[in-house]
């Protein structure tokens, strides 16, 4: 910190020698001269002083008969003084700094993570429609509004978080809630079900529960309401409050499973791979570079890499790499055992994916069929999973109000 300030204000590096050096140092301090990094050297002392104190130091040294030698001059003022004739250099530097500052005020990259059912493109297109596109002034972006809009448009999304880091707009999505997910809403809200099933477990942190273990719920039903009702002694509603509902609800649901594979399969055997740069994009300008023509039976993979200065400071320039993979086609006909084995492996993989998401499998019924053209696996899994997504507060129905009203009746 101190070094940074010294660099900005500019310092002289002084070497002092003579008989009464300590007297000189003490007089300097009394004159208000601050000495930094004061250390003894062979014939005296070496230290740094502010640029503005140099004249005072000279007068004190004359008074005390000490020898002052300037070893170096450090800092920005001296740098500018040395290069004051190079006007175009400073102009360029200023323009560069201004340009970087200007570029840092816009969104140059939008990333979407965590999508499974929906595609990234869908989310990006939706964001673009709502004026959240590349090149937008970043201070005009309201992440809360975008979160709300995404939640309303894409019903299967349970949790969404939008944030601006540097010049990047990050959209983080979760389609299934897990215990580690923390709600990021800033407004009062309800928690509603995103699945149909039976409630098995309920833990409320905030809000009014509208279900209990054993309750059958449909997709969109309110699980925890953000409305808090206050009652008088004679069970009359006196006051209503709105809060952010929070809690964990587990539901027993039925997950349908269907997978089919064609018996006649064409497999690719890759023979040759070629990598090259195909395009350079600067803003909306797309510069296509000459690439070798596509040969028959070739897979083309394109990856776009956005250039960045550091961290999340992305520039509106990107390079498109193209990978051409040539292949030969080989025809294969699956036998019944082979088909079943492939499908079984896929079922195991699917179960693994469910477990990774924190979903507990309670039961399953999968049947395998082998027909003329296809091998099929169909059935269902009975699972227990954490459900719930945020929705703006809806008023309670009369049935719900009756459910939460306290009564004098003994609990069953």
């Amino acid at each position: 910190m101190t070094s940074g300030i010294l660099f900005i204000i500019g310092t002289y590096e002084i070497e002092m020698s003579g008989i009464s050096m300590e007297r000189c140092l003490n007089l300097c301090s009394k004159q208000g001269i601050v000495m930094w990094k004061l250390k003894p050297v062979e014939n005296g002392y070496r230290f740094l002083i502010k640029r503005s104190c140099y004249k005072d130091l000279i007068s004190v040294s004359k008074k005390t008969n000490t020898k002052i030698q300037t070893i170096g001059r450090h800092g920005l003022p001296f740098f500018f003084e040395k290069h004051k004739k190079r006007k175009s250099f400073f102009l360029g530097m200023t323009v560069c700094v201004l340009l970087i500052f200007l570029l840092s005020q816009f969104v140059w990259n939008i990333t979407v993570t965590g999508v499974e059912t929906y595609s990234k493109e869908n989310i990006l297109k939706f964001a673009e429609k709502g004026n959240y596109k590349i090149g937008t002034y970043k201070h005009s972006i309201d992440c809360n509004t975008l979160e709300e809009k995404i939640r309303e448009q894409f019903k299967k999304i349970a949790w969404v978080s939008c944030s601006m880091t540097g010049t990047r707009l990050k959209i983080d999505i979760k389609e299934t809630l897990d215990q580690n997910t923390t709600q990021n809403v800033k407004k009062p809200c309800d928690i509603v079900s995103n699945k149909t099933g039976v409630v098995t477990f309920l833990s409320i942190k905030n809000g009014t529960p509208l279900v209990r273990p054993g309750t059958k719920v449909k997709e969109g039903d309110t699980l925890i309401s953000g409305l808090i009702y206050y009652y008088s002694d004679d069970f009359q509603k006196t006051q209503t409050d709105k809060i952010k509902a929070d809690g964990t609800v587990y539901l027993k649901t039925k997950e349908l499973y269907y997978e089919n594979i064609p018996i006649v399969q064409y497999k690719k055997q890759y023979t040759n791979t070629r990598n090259q740069i195909s395009n350079i994009k600067i803003g909306n300008l797309n510069i296509s570079l000459p690439v070798k023509k596509k040969i028959f039976h070739t897979d083309i993979l394109q990856t776009e890499k956005r250039l960045k200065l550091w961290g999340d400071f992305y520039l509106p320039i990107s390079v498109v790499f193209q990978k051409q993979k040539e292949y030969k086609v080989k025809k294969e006909t699956l036998k019944e055992i082979q088909g079943k084995s492939i499908l079984k492996k896929r079922v195991v993989k699917y179960k693994k994916q469910l477990k990774q998401k924190g979903i507990r499998i309670l039961g399953e019924k999968i049947t395998y069929e082998y027909e003329k053209n296809n091998a099929e696996a169909k059935g269902y899994f009975v699972v227990e999973e954490s459900v719930g997504k945020i929705r703006n507060i809806h008023p309670l129905t009369k049935k719900q109000e009756k459910y939460i009203t306290p009564t004098t009746a003994q609990p069953k």
């Binding site: 009394k30 000495m35 990094k37 004061l38 250390k39």
Partner: protein, 78 residues
């Protein structure tokens, strides 16, 4: 408050690497192994290795290095 009334040193020692001194008159002698500081009533000598005065002003001085010993002697104006 006591130190100002009694015109004595105000010393803040952080481990054995850093010492902040206030309420002094000036430096009497200084080398890498020993710094002698004059106070209004007594003298303070800092013994150590690689002692450097990070900053020295009218009110405060900060010494860094390996501090081995602090010694007070009476007779600050001496």
């Amino acid at each position: 408050m006591n130190d100002i009334i009694s015109d004595d040193f105000l010393v803040t020692l952080t481990g054995c690497q850093q010492i902040l001194i206030e309420n002094y008159k000036g430096i009497k002698s200084y080398d890498a192994g020993e710094i002698c500081i004059l106070g209004k009533k007594r003298r303070l000598t800092i013994y150590g290795e690689g002692l450097t005065i990070q900053y020295y002003s009218y009110e405060t001085m900060k010494v860094i290095g390996t501090i081995r010993k602090l010694e007070y002697e009476s007779g600050g104006n001496a």
